[in-house]
């Protein structure tokens, strides 16, 4: 199973190095890879009926709880089939669609890599790993939306979607870490085993909310839904693959994955259902007034995502069954419609409803395909969509507590869906045809295979849904609701409440469609009402927030990063001084516990010399004197080291002191004449800061003598230096063996500092 991912990776990167003749057929090649993966997953369907057929565990960073864990169970099977199956058809379609564009290497690279990331996401059994794949899909979506990067609107939309999904992803990571800390694991199995502990933990609600932000942004739920219509800037294959069939369903997938862990609580049910209901209504309501083909499809996608989230929120067996079925239904009809919309745009040059019409004459096959998909979207028999709608109504009727609200809003939104589906078919394919610049045709088999297969699936599975139910949905249901449920799908449920609801929906929907078609005013008034009621657009709010964010960041940066080196140092010194003095005051550590004793006269004398030299260096008006005075202090200190038998330290000190002198000498001749530039006040201020910092360092040095946090450590070094590390010089052994990591760090810092100096002073001639 993991090898499929590796193949995907190799293939996607391999696009760039294919030989010329093969590169021409790269789309076909990728289609075949997708098809192969689809067949692989399809052959494994029988294995997943009761338990996961395969679990893979690859140790990665076990100490951090990070491992590569993959699982193939009912739920991941559903999504893997969608990713590879729809992927096959979309790649075939993209072969025809992308023909006239340049930069298709990059396009197919992103798209294939996206397939890999999405597949990795749905097969993940470790939440951190899942998050990584999750973010990858967000990034690739960004690249694909901005494929027409010369268009400003495309770049803008891409950024918008990246900001929103990226924000959601980070919030989700926080949630995962929060909940992971409760049971100290990120493995899905551990989460399921510790589900009760998680639900009872204090961190449950914050964790759930954070994860939900990720889910809601990814799956374009209200109030984050507005990025999805923006994402329609992407080429049609991307819209049909990422933004309807797979990526936007990642949130739904995660909800289903976590349902056995976090689901079943009132918080889960109410929050998620409410968001779902709102999204469902928003999507269908705005779909009515759209004039752009892909706009309509985007808002109906939002509606479908809302339905899915609502169903998972209701969290009953019925609702999850309906959700799993609806996943397929929606993928079938929506991917079809996006491909059809792309085809129409290709052939007529427009996506505006008002400029289209009568296409049935030119594109009869497309019409049949689109009609099947639209009927499925409207939920009319005998298509799979009808079956789904029945099941959804049933789930809504049985939803605990909120049935009446959900049901009423559900009927309203479905009425909209019926109306918009019929309107789409009528406006695009029937009626008078306007003047097209060139006569549309439907040449190009690759254009039609994908939509045709999916549309036929909608029909065939609608007529005989039995196999789909038992082979695929039942195992998925078993994973999500953790108990075996019989799944019997049939198209005719008899005259019951649900049937009457369906009837009501269809009658009202057709009525609305008729009103939209015949009374031109209806739509116009509707739009005007929308303009007034929704005068504040969420996109604009978002843009405003982002603008202000940038402005505030700039202000903050300007205040903190002023660019004056002296003030940086000043800030650091003052802050450190205050912090340390504060600590000294708080802990009342006045007692240094040092027994003063007489030292030989040459040592005390040396101390006096050092102090005098240091003082001289501050008051001298000659640079040479200052440098020499500092040198005297430095060499003096190394002599003191020597007195205390710290030979290594003394040698190092002498060498470093020498180097410092050398460097001072080197720059001395370049400095301008000595002058007193700063005012008395500034000098006094600097004096105070220096005094404060110096005194705090003195206190620290004095305290360091008798604060011994871990007395055993130096004893350990001394005891083990020879036996374990074969060295008699403890200092050196510490440097190169016991604490080699520290030394590595120091060498790295030195290197970076040297490179910094080099870059600061670099001239054209200087070489590294």
């Amino acid at each position: 199973m993991q090898y499929i991912l590796i193949v995907y990776l190799i293939v996607s990167f391999g696009i760039f190095i294919l030989p010329g003749w093969l590169k021409k057929q790269k789309a076909l090649l990728l289609t075949l890879v997708q098809l192969g993966a689809f067949i692989y997953f399809a052959t494994r369907i029988p294995e997943i009926t009761s338990m996961p057929s395969e679990q893979i565990f690859i140790s990665w960073l076990p100490r951090l709880g990070l491992n590569l864990e993959f699982v193939l169970d009912g739920l991941s099977m559903v999504f893997a089939l969608l990713v590879t199956g729809i992927g096959t058809l979309v790649f075939l379609y993209a072969k025809a669609y992308m023909k006239s564009y340049s930069g298709t290497d990059k396009f197919f690279f992103y798209l294939m890599l996206f397939s890999a990331a999405m597949l990795g996401l749905v097969l993940s059994a470790n939440l951190i790993q899942l998050f990584i794949f999750w973010e990858l899909t967000s990034f690739l979506s960004y690249f694909l939306i901005s494929f027409y990067h010369e268009k400003e609107s495309a770049r803008k939309a891409a950024f918008q979607s990246l900001y929103i999904t990226g924000f959601g992803g980070l919030s989700m990571l926080a949630g995962i870490v929060l909940l992971g800390s409760v049971i100290d694991s990120y493995a899905l199995n551990d989460w399921i085993a510790g589900a009760d502990a998680l639900r009872e933990s204090n961190l449950y609600l914050p964790g759930l909310l954070l994860i939900l932000v990720g889910v809601l942004t990814k799956s374009a739920q209200f109030p984050f839904h507005f990025w999805l219509p923006g994402a329609m800037q992407a080429p049609a294959p991307v819209s049909s693959y990422l933004h309807s069939a797979t990526m936007v369903k990642a949130g739904v997938f995660l909800l289903a994955r976590l349902s056995p862990v976090l689901g079943g609580t009132p918080e889960w049910v109410y929050i998620i259902s409410m968001v779902g209901v709102l999204t469902m209504l928003t999507g269908s309501y705005f779909a009515i007034t759209q004039t752009d083909l892909k706009g309509i499809l985007a808002y109906t996608t939002i509606n479908a995502l809302g339905v899915l989230v609502l169903l998972l929120g209701i969290d009953t067996k019925e609702s999850i069954k309906a959700a799993m079925l609806f996943l397929f239904i929606h993928a079938f009809y929506k991917a079809t419609l996006f491909m059809v919309a792309g085809l129409i745009e290709k052939k007529t040059g427009t996506r505006e409803l008002s400029k289209l019409g009568g296409l049935i004459k030119y594109m009869p096959f497309t019409f049949v395909i689109a009609l099947l998909a639209l009927l499925s979207m409207a939920g009319l028999p005998p298509l799979l969509g009808f079956l789904g709608k029945e099941l959804i109504y049933e789930a809504k009727v049985q939803s605990p507590g909120i049935a009446s609200l959900v049901l009423v809003l559900g009927v309203i939104s479905n009425v909209f869906m019926v109306a918009v589906s019929l309107f789409f078919a009528r406006k695009v394919f029937l009626g008078k045809s306007p003047k097209y610049e060139k006569l549309p045709n439907e040449r190009g088999l690759a254009f039609l295979i994908g939509p045709a297969v999916l549309a036929l699936l909608s029909l065939v599975l609608g007529l005989s849904p039995d196999k789909l139910g038992t082979a695929i949905i039942k195992p998925a249901l078993f994973v999500v609701s953790t108990e075996a449920v019989e799944v019997k799908l049939k198209i005719w449920h008899g005259f019951n409440q649900v049937f009457y609801l369906s009837l009501l929906t269809i009658v009202l929907g057709v009525g609305l469609f008729w009103a939209m078609l015949k009374k031109k005013k209806v739509l116009e008034i509707w739009r005007r009402v929308n303009d007034v009621v929704f005068s504040v657009q969420l996109e604009d709010v978002f843009a405003w927030v982002m603008d202000k964010f940038v402005v505030i960041s700039k202000m903050k940066t300007k205040a903190v990063q002023h660019g004056y080196h002296r003030y940086y140092i000043l800030t650091i010194f003052v802050f450190t001084t205050l912090l340390l003095w504060f600590q000294v005051f708080v802990t009342r550590s006045w007692d240094f516990g040092i027994a003063f004793s007489m030292k030989p006269f040459y040592i005390s004398g040396l101390a006096v010399v050092i102090i005098l030299a240091a003082a001289a260096s501050t008051v001298s008006r000659s640079r040479i004197v200052t440098i020499i005075a500092m040198g005297v202090a430095g060499y003096g200190i190394s002599l003191i080291f020597l007195y205390y038998s710290a030979i290594d330290l003394a040698i190092t000190q002498i060498l470093v002191e020498t180097l410092t002198m050398v460097m001072f000498m080197a720059i001395l001749q370049r400095l301008p004449r000595f002058a007193v530039l700063s005012s008395k006040r500034t000098r006094f201020r600097d004096f105070l800061i220096a005094l404060g910092f110096g005194s705090v360092m003195t206190v620290l040095a004095l305290k360091a003598v008798n604060v011994n946090l871990n007395p055993s450590i130096s004893d350990f070094f001394i005891a083990n230096s020879y036996d374990r590390a074969f060295g008699e010089n403890v200092v050196n052994v510490i440097l190169v063996d016991f604490r080699a990591l520290d030394t590595l760090g120091e060498v790295t810092v030195l290197t970076i500092a040297a490179l910094g100096v080099y870059l600061l002073l670099k001239t054209k001639k200087s070489k590294l």
């Binding site: 460097m663 440097l735 500092a753």
Partner: protein, 139 residues
């Protein structure tokens, strides 16, 4: 600065200092010294000669530039991590081999020594880069 005495002295003193530096590096494990100290000494030796003439000239003379010292040193440090990695131990674990010699106890070679050599060269490079950057002619 143009002193013939200093220039002649520097020519020989440089090598003497470098010999001392290498000595410090070699004895470092058991006696005072080591890569850091040795590196500073060797670096200063080269700088010293540079001062007797003109630092910029020395750099032209030196076919190998400070960057190579730094890079080589870091690479040696990297190499010193590999044995422990391949031996399946925690990275940076010191590993030693004893090479028997006809006389004496034999020579012990270990990854910490390679690490020290890396530090030695990196420090030389850093020292040279500091000084050369500061002393080059401004245009």
């Amino acid at each position: 600065m143009n002193s013939v005495i200093l220039q002649i002295a520097a020519k020989y003193l440089k090598w003497l200092l470098i010999v001392f530096a290498v000595l410090a590096l070699l004895r470092g494990h058991n006696n005072p010294g080591g890569g850091f100290i040795g590196g500073l000494m060797a670096g200063l030796a080269i700088v010293y000669r540079g001062f007797a003439y003109n630092a910029f000239q020395v750099k032209e003379e030196l076919q190998d530039r400070p960057g190579y010292y730094i890079g080589g040193g870091l690479f040696a440090i990297f190499l010193s991590f590999l044995p422990s990695l391949f031996a399946g131990k925690t990275i940076m674990t010191g590993l030693w081999v004893k090479i028997p010699t006809p006389v004496g106890e034999g020579i012990k070679l270990g990854t910490p020594f390679l690490f020290d050599i890396g530090v030695f060269f990196a420090v030389i490079g850093v020292t040279l880069l500091f000084v050369f950057s500061l002393t080059q002619k401004q245009h």
